[in-house]
Amino acid sequence: MQNHFELFDLAPGYALDSAALEAAYRGIQARVHPDRFAHASDAERRASMQWTTRVNEAYRTLKSPVQRARYLLELNGVDVAFETNTSMPTEFLVQQMELREALERAGDAKDAAALDALRGELRAERLVMERALAEAIDARRDYAGAAGLVRKLMFLEKLDADIDLAYEALEA
């Protein structure tokens, strides 16, 4: 079976032409989407749903900076092992704890501006890490190092989701 990059006819790599990805995704969807087969035979409708499901999954994976890195490492035989490998540099863990405390304070104080600031900080941090990832994967092919960066990014992503929850609690 083709991998996700082959499916969209893109060169495998962390740096990605997102316009080309979107164009390829839409081009394939235009031909396989269930809406094209609503009046077709059962067999065609089934095949259409399987293809669309696969194309959606591939697109989702490549579009997300974290999932794309994880997938590339997988293609190169490296498991990010986010669930099992929990050893993180102390410095990073301390920073995470500080961020989480800040989040808790902002949530308790129902302080939207503080949440905005925290989100801004987090987004900036993520961009730095994504650049480092591109460097590690595309230039140095340092997959083990990249796996560490992906784990960090996944931590940040979790925190980002928790900021969403804090906003929701504040708006409720």
Partner: protein
């Protein structure tokens, strides 16, 4: 009898053979049916020229049901048998429903979905909705002069799986072939987008009679892409009526009311709400069954005050949808207003202030959803030539997950995933020799199972004896293009494949639907056999038509031998399709479906290759 196809293989049907398809907006307050004729979508009115059908069903002692304006006129005289806003009860248990105490019905609590006791027997909300759909189906068939090949039925984007499934079952019960369940704000975006050649990021704010949706869409030429959706499946214009009602009861210091008075006063409350859209003050005046007069007047200021938190309640989901889309109000090019309740000035004001721009009101908020659904039905029925159609990418509104240890939810498919989507997760046994494992499928965003909606419970049996933690049970969630979920589980290690597929259920099994269908046929003195024959013929013709088109387009993908097999199956179906044996037609159709399976898979592969090849050629030209 169905006409035999006489056109050459691969030729598109002549204009008079257009497939008749409709869009249906099955609303809380009103329902509509629309279709596309000569390229223009229009709502089909009743014989008196009225476009709307009030979604009100009154059951009569002889078992018949009366739908629409006639029922609306009698709702206060016969409140128990006159069901209004039934959409609020679709896929809902008694404890899920707000204002049960002021609803003048005789509820029956049933597993998964409540029922209503009427003079014509106990009715499920699915049956009540089917009565509304039947009227619209008949209206369409009379007006278009033929049988429908199918319908697109709209649902609130925020409807969960049980509510969607209930809607689809209602359509089935009404004898409609559902081409697609389409989200209401998405339907509105299609109508708005095509009408105005809109490009960019738009929000659709849809406040109906009983539901609220907010969807963020990216519109570009030929593509409608939903980026995020949020809402409240139990918030709508009805709640504003309810507030006025409560204010009247309090203000007039009324004693607890009987069913008739309650209905009467709710109707008056609704009229007052509508009056306030264009006036500063509205009278609420009626005589109760005790002879007591209620004679009050409500001002716009008072109305805004007592409904202010309802208006605010729509802004929470609006913020959430923007956040999920990763956007701010500055990224939104326009806000399309949908649903009769958006006529209220305080809603217009609040939305305008939130988005810092005037909302778009240039389409009739009552009709826009039905019109968009009709346009989509036209595409799905295959009436639009390639190039004039469009691609619609929609999402699932609520996360899907499974219960794990300690009553926590393991999220499997996150909300706002583009559908169709499939996701799998592995689980393992926790006891030595464990031979069965049970699964609880839930929908919602909360971490605790008890805070989410329970969709289905099922058990995987026949796991071979193994040490704890050795079994690998793969649970797969598949959500189709209607947003409906099916779940399967499989034990992988031993190759011993035990698997089960569950259709999330709210208590209505397939057998129940069959029984309801049977009952309704008996009632209409319809012939079940004739019905099955007609349906199987239509399905068979559709399949022959589809296969012929496929062979003409992509015949080179199969060997002469494979082609022979398919043609034999086609001939076998053609030989029986004019006969009277509906089972023979079904069997021949099934056989043809099986014979084309490999061909269908190859066609789809070829489609993907062509998509990429087309793009490469386009790139070369740049």
């Amino acid at each position: 009898m169905a006409l035999l196809q006489i056109s050459e293989p691969g030729m598109s049907p002549a204009p008079h053979q257009r497939r008749l398809a409709v869009g249906i907006d099955l609303g809380t307050t009103n329902s509509l049916v629309a279709t596309v004729r000569n390229g223009v979508a229009s709502v089909l009115p009743d014989q008196q020229g009225r476009p709307l059908l009030p979604s009100i069903v009154r059951y009569l002692p002889d078992g018949h049901a009366e739908v629409g304006y006639a029922s609306q006129a009698r709702q206060s005289d016969d409140p128990r048998n006159t069901i209004v806003s039934v959409k609020r009860y679709m896929g809902r248990g008694l404890r899920d429903v707000a204002h049960v105490e002021t609803a003048p019905y005789d509820f029956v609590d049933a597993p998964g979905m409540l029922q209503l006791r009427t003079c014509a027997g106990v009715k499920s909300p699915v049956e009540v909705s089917a009565e509304i759909l039947k009227v619209l189906r008949t209206r369409a068939e009379l007006s278009l002069g033929g049988d429908l090949v199918g319908a697109v039925i709209t649902v609130p984007a925020y409807f969960d799986d049980a509510q969607r499934q209930a809607t689809k079952d209602a359509a089935r019960l009404a004898g409609l072939n559902v081409l697609r369940l389409l989200n209401e704000p998405t339907a509105a975006a299609i109508a708005y987008g095509l009408e105005n050649a809109a490009e960019g990021t738009y929000a659709v704010y849809d406040l109906g009679g009983g539901t609220f949706d907010i969807s963020i869409l990216k519109l570009s030429k030929g593509v409608f892409e939903v980026v995020a959706t949020a809402g409240d499946a139990a918030l709508g214009g009805d709640d504003f009526d309810q507030r006025v009602f409560c204010w009247v009861v309090e203000e007039a210091k009324l004693a607890p009311l009987g069913a008739r008075d309650m209905r009467k006063l709710l109707v008056k409350s609704r009229e007052a709400k509508e009056y306030l859209t264009y006036h500063g003050e509205a009278p609420v005046s009626t005589r109760l069954s005790s002879g007591e007069w209620v004679d009050l007047s409500i001002t716009t200021e008072k109305f805004c005050e007592i409904t202010q938190n309802l208006v605010q309640k729509t802004l929470g989901p609006t913020r959430k949808a923007l956040r999920d889309a990763g956007l701010t109000v500055d990224d939104i090019k326009g806000v399309v207003m949908v649903g009769g309740a958006t006529r209220m000035p305080q809603i217009q004001r609040a939305v305008g202030e939130f988005f810092r721009r005037d909302p778009l009101n240039n389409l009739d908020p009552d009709k826009v959803v039905a019109l968009g659904a009709a346009m989509q039905a036209d595409v799905l029925a295959g009436n639009k030539p390639a190039g004039e159609d469009w691609l619609l990418l929609d999402v699932i509104p609520l996360s899907l997950g499974i219960e794990t240890m300690g009553g926590l939810v393991e999220r499997i498919v996150p909300r706002n995933s583009t559908i169709p989507v499939a996701r799998a997760q592995e689980f393992t046994t926790f006891k030595d020799g464990q031979s069965a494992m049970s699964f609880h499928v839930v929908q919602g965003e909360r971490e605790l199972v008890s805070d989410c909606r329970s969709l289905a419970k099922f058990e995987l049996r026949g796991i071979p004896p193994m040490a704890a933690g050795a079994a690998r049970i793969r649970v797969t969630f598949q959500v189709d293009a209607d947003g409906l979920l099916s779940v399967s589980a499989q034990e992988k290690t031993t190759g011993a494949e035990a698997s089960v597929t569950v259709k999330p259920s709210y208590g209505l099994e397939d057998a129940d639907i069959e029984r309801m269908l049977r009952d309704s046929y008996e009632h209409a003195r319809d012939d079940m056999h004739a019905r099955a024959l007609a349906e199987n013929r239509v399905d068979g013709e559709r399949l022959l038509d589809a296969t012929r088109t496929a062979l003409a387009a992509d015949g080179e993908l199969i060997s002469p031998h494979e082609r022979g097999e398919i043609e034999r199956a086609m001939a076998a179906l053609r030989a029986v399709i004019g006969g009277a044996d509906h089972r023979a037609i079904k069997h021949a159709s099934d056989a043809l479906n099986r014979a084309t399976e490999e061909f269908a898979a190859r066609r789809m592969d070829a489609n993907v290759r062509r998509a990429l090849a087309g793009r490469n050629i386009a790139n070369l030209n740049v």
